[in-house]
Amino acid sequence: MSMDRRKFLKVAGISSILGFGASVASATHPTWQPALRPDQMDRNKEALTAKRWAMVVDMTRFKTEEDFTKTINACHTIHNVPDFRKPDGTVDKKFEIKWIWNTTYEKAFPGMEERKYQSEHIKDMPFMVLCNHCTNPACVRVCPTKATYKLATGITMQDMHRCIGCRFCMAACPYGARSFNWIDPRRAANLDPAKGGKVNKEYPTRTKGVVEKCTFCTERLAVGKMPACVEAAPKGALIFGDLDDPSSEIRQIVSNKLTIRRKPELGTGPAIYYLIGGGDHA
C-alpha cells in the first residue's frame, strides 16, 4: 500500500484528534466508583462523623512514661500491630511498625529556632507523634494505585487491598508516619499464638509487603467510639473532634490557644495540633 504525503497527514491528524478526545474522556471519567448503589448501603446510625477530623495533643498532660506506653499500646493492640524485638528485648528498628509513637522535640519540630529556649521539661520530654492526616497529603499524590486517599471526613485512609508495597508514600511523607512490613507481621511474638501472642479477632493483621499507618480508627468511629489512643490517654491529653465545627472543643482550643503543628511550612496541612504549655495566646 502506498500513501501520499497529503493523505498521510490527514489520517495522522484525524487519529490524533480522536486520541486526544479519548484522553479527555478518561481524565474526566471518575477512576473509582462504589459498585454498590447508594440505596444498597448506609452508615451506622451511631457512627461519629465530621467534616474535618483533627486532634490536639496536650503535651502537658503526659506526665509519666506509663502515660505514653498505655496510649501507644491501646492502639497497637487493637490494630494487631506487630512488636518485633531483638533477643535482648529492645525494639528491632529494622522491622519496626508504628502507628503512634514517641520521638523527641527536636525531631518532631526541627529548626524551630524560636523554641530554642523552651523549658527543659518540654525539650527533654518524649513527644507523641502519629499520622497527621494532612489536608494536602504528599503520600496520596504519589501513590500509583490510589491505595491511599482522603475520606470525606478528612482522614487519610489506607486501602490494604490495593497496596503494592512500592513505598513511594513512605518516601513522600515528611513525618515518617508510615511503616513497611518487611516480614510477615504474624511472626511477631505479640501476635503469634505459638510464641504466646494474641490477635484482636475483630481486626485484620497485615501481610508482608504492604505499608501501614494510623487510620484515626475509622472502624471505631463507625460504631460510635472515639479512637483507641484518645480513650487510653490521660484525661484531656488527646482531644479529638471536628475542626470544621465552630462549637467543638478542638476548634475552641485551636482558635484560642497557641498550638503548633509539625512542619506546616511544607504546605501539607497537618491536622495534629500540639499544645506545649505556656498559657493562652502566647
Partner: protein
Amino acid sequence: MKIYNKGPVFLGIVIFLALALFPFYNNFGKANKKLDIKTDTPAILEYEKVNGKKECVEPKAYMRGEHMVLINNWRDAVVRDDNRGYLSSTGKRWNMSLQNGCMQCHSNKKKFCDECHNYMAVKPFCWDCHIQPVEKEETQS
C-alpha cells in the same frame, strides 16, 4: 505402510498420551466426590431460632454464584466509602464485614468456604490478613 523407527515413535506416542491425559486420570474419581457444605453453626442455628428460618445476606442461589463479587463490593464500600451497613434485596440490613459478618455465621470455615473452594480449586488470599475463625479441628491438632 512402512513406519521407520517404529520403537521410538510408538514410545514417543505413549509418553505424549501419558502426559496429555495426566489431568484426566489424575483427577479420576475425585470429581465425583459430592460437595458437602454445612450451614449448621451455632450462630446460624441461633438465627434460625429467632427468625424462624435460615438465610444468608442474599438468597442462596445468588450467594453461590456471586459472593465473591458481593464481598469485594463490601470491601470497597467499607474501606473506600466509609459505609458499613448493607441493605440487601431481602429488605434486611447487614454489617458489611468479612471477619465480623460472614465468618460470624459461617464460623465453620473449613467445612464451608474451604470445602467448596478446594472442590473448585480457588484459593482466596484474604486470610493472610483477615483472621479466620478458630475451629475445633485446629485446636486439637
